[in-house]
C-alpha cells in the first residue's frame, strides 16, 4: 500500500506541475520553437526580393480543404494567401491548391511533376500522411513516395515545406498517425526540408485550451478558425525560414 501511495503522490505532483503551467490563452499563438527551422527557403527569398511575387502550390488531401459553403475560401491555403498578403505588402502572392480527397502520398508523388510544370511554383507546401495512415500504407513505401515527390520538387528548383497530419484526439485510438509522423520528421531531417509540424501545433492548441479539439460540433465555425490559424502559422514559418522582412512583426496570431 505504501508503494501505491508513493507512486500516487509522485504522479500527482508531476501532473499538478504540468497542469499549473498550462493556463489557457484565447489566441492561437504558436511558440517559436514549433515553427523554427534551420533550413532556409532561398528560392522564396529570391522571388520576393527580386520579383516581388510568390507563387505557392499546396498539394495535399482533404485535411487541406474544408467542406461546406465557400469551403475553399476558409481553408488554410486561402487563409495563408491572406496572411502573406497582409504581412508582405507590395508583393504579389498567389496560392494554388491541389487537394482532392483520398490521395495517398504515392498518388501525390506521381502527380507532382505535372503540377510543377503547370504551376511553376516557387514554394510547394506538401501535406501528407493522413490518407496513408488511413489506408495502412507501409512506412517504408511512404518514405519512398516522399523521397520521390521531394525529388520532383527539387528538380523544378522549388522550395518545399512538408506538412504532417492534424492532431485528432478523438480518432487517436483508431488511426495511428505516429509512425507516419516519425517518418516525415526523419525525412525532413535527412533532406534538410522544412517541416510544418501541424500535429505538434494543433496538439499545443489543444493543451493550451485554444481549441477544444474533442468537441463534437457539426458547425463550421471552429474548423474555419483552426484553418485560419494554420494559415497564419504557416505564413510565419515561411517568413522566418525565408528570412523576409515582416511588415507587422507582432501580428503572429
Amino acid at each position: 500500500m505504501t508503494f501505491i501511495l508513493a507512486v500516487l503522490a509522485t504522479i500527482t505532483l508531476a501532473g499538478g506541475a504540468v497542469a499549473a503551467e498550462s493556463a489557457p490563452t484565447p489566441d492561437c499563438d504558436v511558440p517559436e520553437r514549433l515553427i523554427s527551422t534551420e533550413t532556409e527557403l532561398t528560392r522564396v527569398n529570391k522571388e520576393i526580393t527580386d520579383r516581388h511575387r510568390l507563387d505557392i502550390t499546396v498539394v495535399g488531401s482533404r485535411s487541406s480543404a474544408l467542406s461546406g459553403p465557400d469551403g475553399a475560401r476558409f481553408a488554410y491555403p486561402a487563409q495563408l494567401e491572406i496572411a502573406l498578403k497582409e504581412r508582405l505588402p507590395g508583393n504579389e502572392i498567389k496560392v494554388t491548391a491541389h487537394v482532392p480527397s483520398g490521395q495517398t502520398t504515392a498518388d501525390m508523388a506521381a502527380g507532382l511533376p505535372k503540377i510543377m510544370s503547370e504551376d511553376h511554383p516557387a514554394l510547394v507546401i506538401w501535406q501528407a500522411g493522413t490518407v496513408d495512415a488511413l489506408r495502412g500504407v507501409e512506412p517504408d513505401d511512404f518514405r519512398n513516395s516522399l523521397d520521390q515527390g521531394l525529388d520532383a520538387i527539387a528538380a523544378a528548383a522549388a522550395d518545399v515545406i512538408m506538412m504532417n497530419m492534424q492532431y485528432s484526439p478523438r480518432t487517436e485510438s483508431m488511426l495511428g498517425v505516429a509512425p507516419f509522423a516519425d517518418v516525415m520528421r526523419w525525412v525532413a531531417e535527412q533532406r534538410s526540408v522544412v517541416l510544418f509540424d501541424r500535429l505538434a501545433i494543433m496538439h499545443h492548441w489543444s493543451d493550451e485550451g485554444t481549441f477544444d479539439l474533442y468537441a463534437a460540433t457539426t458547425g463550421y465555425a471552429m474548423a474555419r478558425r483552426v484553418h485560419e490559424c494554420i494559415g497564419r502559422a504557416l505564413a510565419s514559418q515561411i517568413i522566418n525560414a525565408a528570412h523576409l522582412e515582416d511588415a507587422k512583426t507582432q501580428t503572429t496570431r
Binding site: A19, R170, T217
Partner: protein, 392 residues
Amino acid sequence: MVMVSPPQSVTSERDLRLDLFRGLALWLIFLDHIPDNVVSWLTIRNYGFSDATEIFIFISGFTAAFVYGRTMRERGFVLASARILRRAWQIYVAHIFLFTIFMAEIAYVAATFDNPLYAEEMKILDFLKQPDITIFQALLLKFKPVNMDVLPLYIVLLLLFPPMLFLLVRRPNVALGGSAVVYALAWRLDWNLPAYPNGVWFFNPFAWQLLFVFGAWCALGGARRLAGVLRSRAILAIAIAYLLFAFFITLTWHVEGLDRFVPGWLTEWMYPIDKTNLDVLRFAHFLALAAVTVYFVPRDWPVLKSPILWPAIVCGQHSLEVFCLGVFLAFAGQFVIAESSGGPLLQTGISVLGIIVMIAAANLVSWYKAIEGRSPVSRVKSPDADLAGGEA
C-alpha cells in the same frame, strides 16, 4: 505470497524477478496505450530504444519454455504441444473479446462524433459500413486496431512454438541459431504477415520470434551458461555505456537543439530504428538492460519477497488476465479522457486508478486459483502457463 509452490516441483524455486519485471512491463504497456498520457513520460520507451514490449516478449518466452519444456521432457511432445495450442486458443479468444469492446467504442464514436475539421480522419470509421469484411478479417487476425497487436503476435509465436521447443530441449544452440537465421532472413527478404486493409503486421512475428526464442533458450539452461559472462565487469561497463548512449539519443528526440550533437554519419547509420522488425539497436538495448538488471538484482534479493514489490509481482503472475484488462482499461480511460476533454490531472488519475484495478484483479485471480488449487477435485495440478507460461 499467495502463490503456493507446487510440492511436486523438482526444479528450483520460482524466479520472482520474472514476475516482477513482467508485472512492471504490463503497467508500462497500459500507460503507453493511453494516447497523450502525461504519466507515460515515466515509461522506459522515453529513455532508451527498447520498451516494455521487449521485456514482456522475452519473459513470456522464458516462462513458456520453463513450463512447457518440463511437460515436454516428462510427458512427451504431444501433450506439451496440446497444452501450448490450448494456450494459443485462450489468447485468441481473449483477443476477439477485446476486439468486440473496441468495436463497441468506435461504433459509439462514429454515431456521436462529427466535426467538419476531421472529415478526413473520420474515414477510419468507414469499415463499420462493411462489418462482413471487417469482422472476418479480424477473426483471421489481419484486421487489428491500434494497440491490439501484441496478442496476435503471441498467438503466432505459440502456434510455432511446439517444434521450436522440441529443438530447444534437445539442441538449444541450434534452435537459437535457427531463430537468428529466420530473423536475418526476415530483414533481408522482407518477410512479414499481411494485414487488412493492406500493409503488414505491426509486430513482425518473423523478427520478434528471436526475442521469444532467446527467452526460451535462457530458461532451458542458457541463462546458466551466460552467468559467467553476466558477472564480468567488462560486460557490465559495455552495457551501461550502451544504455547511456541510447539515453542520450532518445533525449535528442525530446529536447530541442540537442540533435546537433549527433554526427551525420551516425544519424545516417542509425535511423530509422524499426520497431516492426525489432531493430538490432532495440534488441541490443534490451540485452544491455537485462545484463545490468541481472547484475544488480540477484535472484535471491530479499526485497523480492517484501510487500513493496508484491503488487507488480502479483500482476506479473497473471499476465494474460492483467494484460487484457490493461488493454480494456486503456480504451476505457481514453474514452473518459475524450468525453471530458482531457487534462493532465485526469490522465494521472486514470493512470493510477488503472494500475490499482490491475493489482486488485490480479489478486482476485490469484485468490481464485489458490482456492481452486486446494479443492480436492483439481488435485492434479495442470501447469497453467500464464499468457505464454507464467504459473511455473
